[in-house]
Structures are given as structure tokens and as C-alpha cells.
Assembly symmetry: C2
Homo-oligomer: 354 residues x 2
Amino acid sequence: MKKHNFSAGPSILPQEVLLKASEAVIDYNNTGLSLIEISHRSKDFVDIMEKARALVLELLGLEGKGYKALFLQGGASTQFLMVAMNLLEKRAGYLNTGAWSEKAIKEAQMLDDIYQVASSKDANFNYIPKGYTIPEDYDYFHCTSNNTIVGTQLKSFPNSPIPMVCDMSSDIFSRQLDFSQFGIIYAGAQKNMGPAGTTLVVVKEDILGKVSRKIPSIMDYKKHIGSGSMLNTPPVFAVYTSMLTLEWLKGLGGIAAVEEENEKKARLMYSEIDLNPLFKGFAAKEDRSYMNATFTLENENLKETFESMLKEAGISGVNGHRSVGGYRASMYNALPIDSVKALVEVMSELESKA
Amino acid sequence: MKKHNFSAGPSILPQEVLLKASEAVIDYNNTGLSLIEISHRSKDFVDIMEKARALVLELLGLEGKGYKALFLQGGASTQFLMVAMNLLEKRAGYLNTGAWSEKAIKEAQMLDDIYQVASSKDANFNYIPKGYTIPEDYDYFHCTSNNTIVGTQLKSFPNSPIPMVCDMSSDIFSRQLDFSQFGIIYAGAQKNMGPAGTTLVVVKEDILGKVSRKIPSIMDYKKHIGSGSMLNTPPVFAVYTSMLTLEWLKGLGGIAAVEEENEKKARLMYSEIDLNPLFKGFAAKEDRSYMNATFTLENENLKETFESMLKEAGISGVNGHRSVGGYRASMYNALPIDSVKALVEVMSELESKA
Ligand SMILES: Cc1ncc(COP(=O)(O)O)c(C=O)c1O
Ligand SMILES: Cc1ncc(COP(=O)(O)O)c(C=O)c1O
Ligand SMILES: [Mg+2]
Ligand SMILES: [Mg+2]
Ligand SMILES: [Mg+2]
Ligand SMILES: [Mg+2]
């Protein structure tokens, strides 16, 4: 039986994507060769890469607006460094909303001066700071749109006077936004876009080329753009599977369609957390993430029962991150609402039992 | 029909590996979940990573000798930079044997001073320089064991007084060597080890920690070692498929067994190149690569006939690199000798026709 997969990442992908990806590992498109044993310079693969890059801009509404999409390696963690290498000249402003923001800050600090415009560390990151000012003489402003670990999400973005860089690793393609307000968007594929192994970077070209530091080739966005996202051998399988997921999303009706589904799933999940006296949400209500719902079970004695009921129902991946504890239900694009229904049912069954 | 796949990389993998990898994309080990949608922190994946890392050291004969194996992202090209970041303090010596060595040199030069101990650029890299001296007060010596583009290979390595770093992207696991003579070995997976998307790095731990520069976390071998090669989300599919290929190699009898096969394939290939008057080898005979045989067709008028005969015989991927021209037959571990026979047959048939 297929499980209800609430994993925080790597995480659930559409079943039809898995089937096509699996098929391509044996024989790609009746070529008599596996997708993973052909040259990345072959027409077959170049077409895949170009299609993936074009789908990104189309789905984000960024076509013809001066943006380029790149499929890189190294995870979002490598972007913590690349962003600073490519943009940091004097000083940058960071919004600190969780463990991932903190890592981004630490990595950028290796290179130069970083200023935290605001932080919610004082409350274990259970809310999103508001009302801060972004200094207009800084190089860029960095934020994390969705905080995967604590389950908070930026519902709106500041009007930034400098290029805004956003780590969207855990909510890219999940909701409609004016994506043209960002200078750089980056996201590890392994939540809403594909398998682990590739990182999407969407860059507004005109913000590049303004730092004096020598940028190593493999860290240079301009070089990656210049080579069509093939500066070196790309992670073929991860790019192909991402392309399939983007096609699936387009087929659904794009971000608008999936956003509607995501809202339904989140509403269902959070109503249960709120109404069920056994559970308590971790994040401040107004800042709750539609992707990762974090909650605790108030009565420790029910833990074992709850977890065996989850197992019984085929629900997997809901354990919370070690730094927060409790539970975390990740409800990415590919998670069917039926999985949320199954989880909510177990939670309410626990209530009737208790 | 399955083709004879001479692709230079990404390149042929064992059929049984492709089948198992394809299966895992649907359902890993009867878990009811795809390999690519489970947490990399799950026992299932941690076991895969640990097995892959252990197999590397076992196959290279490096167990208990102070080495650690890492599966990173970013390709061998990222290692050009990481090596320098982790080891370069004052000056490093590089052996320049081809386009890949040159790129390694250029990237390291971004950080500090590089000295070319020898180069074969004068002859379009068709030979391997010998008799050079490695200064003993340098930080490390870097070489490329196999030059994928031009088809040359180091048959022996210098007795280096300083840590020797080797890019083995295109011949790792293909021949027996005393691997303990190296301080760092790195290799993109996509030739002899697996699909594109992961890079093997084998590091002798005691050569690390000697530079004064601040190393960004994601570039720091020590940090990757400290986190068991899971500093951030690893490229799950590429690591698993590499692990399967390493298991396959162990099952064959390890490097000793595959080396014997590789020698047979190379002998067959080069005899045809030498004996057939229509073809001419590119590389100096004594430095010829057992992995990539480069050759030209002397008579341009036969090009079309030759290429349609190749196609007819189901032979793919033998076009030479644009910088060298002609043809390149890549004969990595997973290429069956029957494929070489098929190619040689076409070459000799061309001779009888001409
Ligand atoms: C918001 C966010 N940023 C960054 C990362 C790190 O991504 P990676 O492991 O691909 O480096 C994660 C991983 O979960 C994340 O959720
Ligand atoms: C010897 C050698 N080094 C480095 C590379 C670059 O590897 P990557 O594309 O994984 O960065 C290659 C690629 O073919 C290679 O053959
Ligand atoms: Mg977080
Ligand atoms: Mg409640
Ligand atoms: Mg070369
Ligand atoms: Mg000849």
C-alpha cells in the first residue's frame, strides 16, 4: 500500500512523475538508452534542461522580465554562499526567522558584513518579525519565505529598496506571489519540485556583476547563465524529474490551482489542531505555514497510542524536527488532501479514545 | 535494442544497476515509498550512504588508513575549488595534462598562487609530461589521472614529497593502484561509478586543517566528514545508484577483476586503430588511456559511410570532443567487451570496403 507521506523533504512527488522517472532510468523515450547514461550535451538532454528552465519562468510569471532559471547542484545550502559571493560588496541585511536563515547568515558572514534586520530567535522562531526597516544602502536583503522546521511562513514581503533574495526551498510553486519583487529566488528541489540533487536558482540578470571580488567560476551565476545551466555536468536525473513535476503542475492549472488545494489542506489540518484539545499548534496563528504544520500532543501519555495509530493508518513522516519536538505534517503540492483527511481522522479518533 | 554505448560521460552503467535504480524510484525495498521521497535522515537512506562510503574504502584498499569517503554535489568542477580552499596556503603545483587540468588550475588561481610543474599543452596534450620535479615546500601537488578529452592516462605517479591530489573522474575504480599515495582523490560519479549528480571525494584526514583562510561550511571537507557526508541533503538517487554500481563491482571481483577486462577491451581497440590503415590514434602510444581511445579517420571521404555503419550497428557516443575532433571510444567499467568487438568490426569492415 502507498503510504500517506508527510515527509519534510525529500518528500512526496506525484505518482505519475515517479512512474515516468522510473521508466526513463531503463529507457528514455525509446532511445534504447537510459536517461542517466547519455551525454548531457545530447539533444535529448539539452531539450529537457531547456524545457525545465522555461517551465519555471512560465509558472512563476517571469517570462520576458529579465530573469534566468538555473538548475544547479549543492543544495540550498550552497546558495547561502553563492548569494553572498555574487552580491555582497559592503553589507547585507538578513531577516532571521529560523535555523535555515541562521545558516544563511553564518555562511555569508564568512565573506563580509551581515546585519540582522530582525529576528524571532527570542521565541524559538515561532513567529515572523514585522515592521523592520531595510537600509537602502545595503547590497541586498535576504529572507526565508517558509521556515520548514518551525512551520512559519511570510504572508507578505517587505517593500525592499534593495534587491530581495529569498530562500523558497519549502514553499516554491505552492502559492501565487508577485515573483518579480525578488532579485534572486532559490530552492532545493526536494520539497515542491523534485528529488534531492538539484537546486533551482531564479536570477534577475541586471543585479549581477556589481561586486569587486573575484568569483570562482563554479560559484558565478553569470557563468552558469552563459552556459545555459550546463557549466559542468548537470544532475541529469534530478533535473528531468523536476521537469516532470513542473509539467504536472502546469497540467493541474499552475500555481493558482495548486494554491487552492494547499489552502484546503492547511485549513483542514489547522482546524483539527485548534479544535482538538489534545493538540497545540507551535507557530503564531497569523504566521502559520501552509506547507509545514507543527504541533504538539499535550498529554505525553498518549504518545505511544497516537504513534501506533498513525502507523496503522499508513501515515509516515510526521515526526517533528529534533529542535522543535512534537509533530510536523508537511503538506507539499503533491500531497493529496486524502492524506490530510487520514491524519485528521487519526487525531480526532485519539480524542474520542482519550 | 540496447545500444553499444561509448558515451564519454554520463555513460554506460551495468544493466542490473539500472533495473534496481528504476525499481527504487517506484518503491524502495517494499517500504511503500519511493527512494526519492523519503527523508535522507531515515534509517533506510543513512544505511545506503554508509554502505556506499564503506564500499569505496574497501574497493580502493583504504580501510583503516585514515581516509574518509564523501559523496558530495557540484561535480568534479566544484572540487577544483574545494581542493584549493581546503589545502592552498602559499602555493600549489599542478601538472597540466589537458582541458580539465587547466580548469582546475584556473579555479585554484582565484584563491592563490599556482605553479605548473609541467605541461603538455605544446602538443595539444597528446602526451603526459615526465621527469618534472615537485617542490617540497608547496602545499600540494595536483594531477589528473586520465584525460577524458584527449585520451591520455598517467601510467605511473610521481613520488610526491607533498600531499598528492588526483582528479580521477574518468578512471576511478578501473585499475589497481596504491591509492594510499594520494592525499585526496576526487571523481564525478558519471563515468565509472554512477549517474551525474554526485562526486566522490576520498580524503586523508590528517592533511586537513592546515590553512589559515576561513573556509565556508559547505566547502569544508572537515564539516562534511563530521556530518557523515550529510552536511545538507545529499543527492539521494545518485548516491544510491553509485552504491549499486559499487556493489556490482565488488560482485565482479573488485578492481582487479575489472582491470583485466578493461585491458582486454583497450588492447582490442588500440590494435584495430594501429593495424587499420584508415585510422590513426591521437595520443602518444605509451600514454594511451584505457578508458578513452581517441582516433581519427584519415580519409575524410569515408566519414559518412563510417558513421552510417556505426549507426546501423547500434553504436552510439563515439563522436570526439569538439576540441580534438575525430572519434572517441569511451570504454568504462560497465561497457561489455562485445561492444568493443562491435565497434572494431565496423572499423575493419570499413577497411575492406574502402
Ligand atoms: C528553508 C530551507 N532552506 C535551506 C534548506 C537546506 O537545503 P539543502 O539541504 O538542499 O542544502 C532547507 C532544507 O530543508 C530548507 O528547508
Ligand atoms: C577528468 C575530468 N575532470 C573533471 C570533469 C568535470 O566534471 P563535472 O562535469 O562533474 O564537473 C570531467 C568531466 O568530464 C573530467 O572528465
Ligand atoms: Mg527553519
Ligand atoms: Mg488544540
Ligand atoms: Mg582532458
Ligand atoms: Mg591505423
